[in-house]
């Protein structure tokens, strides 16, 4: 073993990458060669200096944001399949594509719903039902329809007649159990699309007991993440709470609410919802961060309490 070999391998020695025999020989050489010993000291110094640029654990906020973004993208991606699979028409895959085209989905929903109501009208008027219908549709008299907008006005100067073209909105109401798929369609639509937060609140409230249904779960997750009204977010959280143990997406969404929601009530609700999974490493990491630096004293205190009561499994 000569000095050249030692200098080539000092880096490996310090990174613990040398075989035992080579390691032993290198140590023997360094013990009797001052020049190689100086080289070793320099390399050690270099490695210590490089640690000034630390590798810190990513913050729970950063990790949760990355996970949520990935989840959204995964919804729209399908794994590559063999060429012969591509030749076959897959209605389920096609429906999945449609599900995530909001405009198209809305149109299909409205057409489908309108068609459904029309069919039901015909069915109801043609024969008496054998049993009470699960959903009842009530229409207002045509004269009571509201004008939703005027689309054009044309005046004939010779006759002094004015032609006003407008659209009318006909109010209708339906009644039925929450289990009814058509009622559910309406509630899901209202929860995501309605301008009125009171309507969204009522929709989410009606849906929250049915979070086992994937469509309802997805809508509740959407409401928790994006609804501008804290009351709606709280209702959604209530529906999602029982699922944090079994559904990772729900857990991520609730964790995101705990870390980032602007409303203290929602954050507190999220913290309590996560209590059954407090031993999860991501949750622990988030709680440690909150216990240390959250601006809210209550959140800091609760985080400490949960951490103290959770067995550290890592």
């Amino acid at each position: 073993m000569n000095c050249d070999w030692v200098r080539q391998n000092i880096t490996l020695y310090l990174y613990n990458e040398l075989a035992d025999d080579a390691r032993h020989e290198l140590e023997q050489h360094i013990a009797r060669c001052s020049s190689c010993a100086a080289e070793l000291a320099e390399q050690q110094q270099f490695q210590t200096a490089m640690n000034v640029l630390p590798v810190e654990e990513v913050s729970p906020n950063f990790l949760t944001a990355a996970r949520m973004r990935l989840q959204e993208s995964l919804e729209q991606v399908q794994p590559h399949r063999a060429w012969y699979h591509r030749l076959a028409f897959d209605p389920a895959a096609w429906l999945r594509q449609v599900r995530f085209s909001p405009a198209l989905a809305s149109i299909i929903f409205l057409v489908g719903f309108g068609g459904g109501i029309g069919t039901m009208y015909q069915a109801l008027s043609s024969k008496a039902p054998a049993q009470a219908p699960s959903m009842q549709v009530t229409s207002t008299a045509p004269g009571e329809a509201a004008i939703s907008g005027i689309t054009s006005i044309q005046r004939d100067p010779t006759t002094n007649q004015v032609k006003v073209q407008y659209d009318k909105v006909m109010p209708e109401s339906v009644q039925g159990p929450v289990n009814d798929p058509k009622i559910q369609d309406l509630l899901l639509y209202a929860a995501k699309s309605n301008e009125n937060s009171g309507v969204r609140l009522s929709s989410v409230d009606a849906l929250k007991g049915k979070s086992d249904d994937p469509r309802i779960r997805e809508t509740l997750t959407y409401s928790l993440r994006y609804d501008s009204n804290p009351g709606v977010r709280l209702q959604a959280l209530e529906g999602l709470g029982p699922l944090v143990k079994d559904d990772i997406r729900v857990r991520n969404a609730v964790l995101e609410a705990l870390l980032n929601d602007s409303n203290l009530g929602v954050r507190t609700g999220a913290m309590h919802a996560l209590e059954p999974v407090k031993a999860d490493s991501s949750i622990r990491m988030a709680l440690q961060q909150l216990a240390k630096e959250d601006p809210s004293e209550y959140i800091r205190h609760e985080s400490q309490r949960l951490l103290a009561s959770a067995p550290n499994m890592y």
Partner: protein, 190 residues
């Protein structure tokens, strides 16, 4: 479920199984991407692209290596592409941007957070951190990657070789070259 079972489930189209795999490996993946890019936005892009690629190609996974090696292979390739593009753009600035597009100085990352650290010491650490970051940027993308995985992520050279689809010997040589360059660039600091 272990990794192999999760992968098989994911190959059968089980979305939840793939997400379980993501949760097992995504923290080190994001940490690696962040340390390599020093930008939250770029790190998130690499993280996202890596797992989407893994998901799209999960059916091609043949269990010839571990999922860990496979996902790291994808991430390191994305990081190498990123470094090559960055070298072309010659962006040597220490000013970087976070997820919201806010810019801040890389040197802030190396400030000594310990209580009692003197401002002079802190300034020196910041200066040293900035110089190290610049010296790292001068390495070739491959040298940078090997050094990152060995020094900062603590992987074995054998694993690094597997991840980079090369031999352990080549990984050793690349590490040696990278270390020599860094020492030369930072020599006057001692």
């Amino acid at each position: 479920m272990n990794d192999a079972e999760l992968i098989r489930e994911a190959q059968r189209g089980n979305h939840a199984a793939f997400e379980e795999l993501v949760r097992q490996y995504d923290s080190p993946v994001l940490r690696l991407a962040y340390h390599m890019t020093r930008s939250e936005q770029d790190a998130q892009d690499i993280y996202q692209e890596a797992f989407l690629k893994a998901y799209r190609n999960i059916n091609t996974f043949r269990f010839e290596c571990s999922f860990y090696t496979w996902i790291y292979r994808i991430v390191t390739n994305l990081c190498l592409d990123y470094l090559r593009k960055r070298q072309v753009r010659k962006e040597d600035s220490a000013i970087i941007s976070d997820g919201e597009g806010e810019t801040y100085d890389l040197l802030d990352q190396v400030a000594d957070q310990r209580s009692g650290a003197s401002p002079e010491k802190d300034l020196m650490r910041r200066e040293l951190g900035g110089r190290i970051a610049k010296a790292l940027d001068k390495l070739t993308p491959r040298e940078r990657m090997v050094f990152e995985m060995k020094h900062y992520q603590g992987l074995k050279l054998r694993t690094i070789g597997e991840i980079l689809n090369t031999t352990e010997e080549t990984a050793k040589n690349t590490l040696f070259r990278g270390t020599q360059k860094l020492r030369a660039a930072l020599r006057d600091m001692r």
